[in-house]
Amino acid sequence: MAITASAFESLELKDVGRSFGGHDALVGLNLTIRAGEFIALLGPSGCGKSTALNCLAGLLPLTHGTISIDGKRVDTLPSEKRGFGMVFQNYALFPHLSVEKNVAFGLQMQGTPKAELKARVAEAVALVKLEQHTKKLPGQLSGGQQQRVAIARAVVLQPRLVLMDEPLSNLDAKLRLDMRTEIRRLHQSLGLTTFYVTHDQEEALSLADRLVVLREGRVQQIGTPAELHNKPSNWHVADFMGYRNLIDLTVEAVSGEDVRVSGAGFSLNGHAAQQVHKGESVRLAIRPEDLTVVEPGDSVRDGNTISATVAVVEYQGREFAVGVQTAEGQTLHVRSAHAPQIGDRVTLTVSASRALVYRSSLDEDSAGSTPELEEVRA
C-alpha cells in the first residue's frame, strides 16, 4: 500500500478572514482539524464556503488570521508548496493529457523517479477503478469517471489534506449517491484528512465527522452530524438541517427549558433551544417527520394539537409528505402514513422536545454560539 496520507497532528485555522473590496466574504473562522477527520463546510451559495476553501488551498490570500499545521504556519506558503490535494467542482482535468498523465502530473512536478511514478499512478488509477481508461483523454470520459480521475490525481500525492469543492454537484442523482459512498470509502481506507465544501445538507451529514455551518461568512455552528441534526444552534441552521416548519410565535410562559408558545391560531409546548423570555417573539422549528397527523386511536403528544386542512399530498415511497394549512393561513409540512384527501380536516401533533424554540434574531446568537466554538477548539 503505497498511497497513504502524510501524517500531521492537527491543522488549525485561527480567526481566518477574507474580504473583497470592503465586503467580508469570510469572518473569524476558527477551526481545528485533527488528522483523519472528515470536515464538511456547509452553507447556502454565497455564504463564503468556497472562499474558505480557496483560502485554505492558497488560491486566495488571507485578509487576516493564520493557518498552521502542528504549530507551523502554512498560510504564508504559496499554493504549490502546501501539499494539499484539491478536487474542483468542474474537475479541472487537463484536457490535453490522458487519464494516466493527469494522475502523474503532480508526481512529475515532484520529480518522482520513473519506476515509482508508474507504480503509484497505476495504484491510484486502480483505486478509482479506471484501469481500462488510462489512455483516454478526459473529454472521452463520463462525468463520474472524470470526477474519479480528479480524485485519483489529488490522492496520488498523499496529500496532508484533501480539499473538495462541491465535487458531486455536477453529477446526476444516482451517480451522486455512488460517488458519495466512494469518497467516504477512500477517506477511510487511505486515512485521508478531508475538507469538503457543499450546500447539500444530506451529503454533509452522511459524509462528515464534523460539520461547519456558515452564513454570510460567519460560522453558525460546528458539531457532529447528530448534534446538528438534533440541536441546531439557531433557526438558520435548523432551516438548513431540514426543519421546514418555521413559525413565528410569541412566548407565553417559560419554565426552565420548557416553553409555551402561541400565535397563528394555536399554542404549543416546546423546548427552548436558545434562552427566551416571556413575551418575546420567537421562531418555532419543527421537522416534517416530527409533526404527524393524529390517526384514530393515536394519542396526542404532550398536549400539542394543531388543526389544519390538507392542501397538497406528495407520495414519497414509505410515507406521504403532506402540506396542510391552518385556519389562519399558516402552511405546515407534515408526514402521514396514509394518504389523506385534499380538503380533509386533520389534527397534528408534535412532542414538546422536538418543537424547538429559537430567538427570531440571528445576530445576537453569534455571542450565544461562541462557547460552543471554544469547546470544539479545545
Binding site: G85, F94, P95, H96, G139
Partner: protein, 323 residues
Amino acid sequence: MSTAVDSRRPGGDSAGAPRGAGQRKSSASLRHRLAERGIDKSLVMLVPAAVFLIALFVYPFTYGIGLTFQPSLLQQEKWGGGIFANYLAFFKDPFVFDSIWLTMRLALPAALINVLASIPVAFKLRGKFRGKRFMTTLLVLPITLGTVLTAQGLLIFAGRQGWLNRFLMEVGIIDAPLQLVNNYIGVLFSLIITGFPFAFLLISSYLSGIDPSLEAAARTLGADWKQRFRRVILPLLAPGLATTFILTFVLAFSVFPSARLVGDAMGSTRVMSLMAFRAFGEQNDYPMASTIAIMMGVVELAVIALVLLWRSFLYKGSTGGKG
C-alpha cells in the same frame, strides 16, 4: 437565382429517384428526404455570395495565372523557355529571386516577435485590475492607424533629424544620428507596430478560452509558474499561437507601403510586392507582375502549410473555458 435552383433539383432527385420510384413512397416531407441526401434547400441563399466570389476572386485569379503563361517578347528573348519564360525570369534573375529571402527576412521575425511579445502582455492583462480597459485600448489603438500614418510617424520620430536622434545627440549618448529608418529596421518596426495589436487581440481571446481552474489545479499539484505555463497553458494555447502566427505572417508578408516609405525600396527591403509593383508600374510587364504575385502566394502557402502541419500534431480539443 432561378437557374441555380433548377440546375440543383434534377441533380438532387436523379440520385435517388430511379430506385425510390419502385419502393413505397416515403411519408417524410420533401425537405427531410432531401436532407437525408445531404441537400438543404436554404443553401440557395449562398448563391449571391458564390457569384461574387467567382466574379471578384476566382475569375481574376485564374486570369492572372493565365497571364503568367503569356510572357512578353522581351522576357522570351532574354530567358527563353517559351510560355514559361516569366517563371524562368523569376528564378534566374537574382534581383527578383532574392526578394523572396528579403521578404521572409522581414515577415518571419515580425510575425514571431508579435506572437511572442503578445503572450506575456495578454497574460498580464488577463486578470481584473484598475485601468485594464485603458491599457487594452492603448495596445489596440495602432490598428486604427493606417500603415501610411505609421510610416509617416516613424519617419518624423526616428529619422535622421527626428526627435529621437536629436534627443540622443543633445544628451550626448551618440555622436552621429542613428540610421533607424529607410532601412530594414524601419520596416521591421512598422510591421511590429501594426501587427502587434492583431496578435495581442487574438491571443487574448485564445487565453480567455482556457479555464482558469486548470491553472489552479496545477498549482495545488505543486507546479510553479514556469511548469504551469509549459505543461498546461502552452499546450492548450499552441494551436491559437499557430493561427495567430499565420495571420500576422500573412499581414507582414504582403508589406508594401511601409517597405516603400520607411524602407530601402530597391535595396534591403526589396520585398516581393514591391517587385510586382515595379514590373507592373515601371516596366509595364503585366504578365511578369502576375508571375511575381502568384509566386508570393505560393511562398505564403508553403509557410502556412508548414505551420498547419505542425499544428496538426497538437491537442486541439476543448480548453475547458468559455471560449
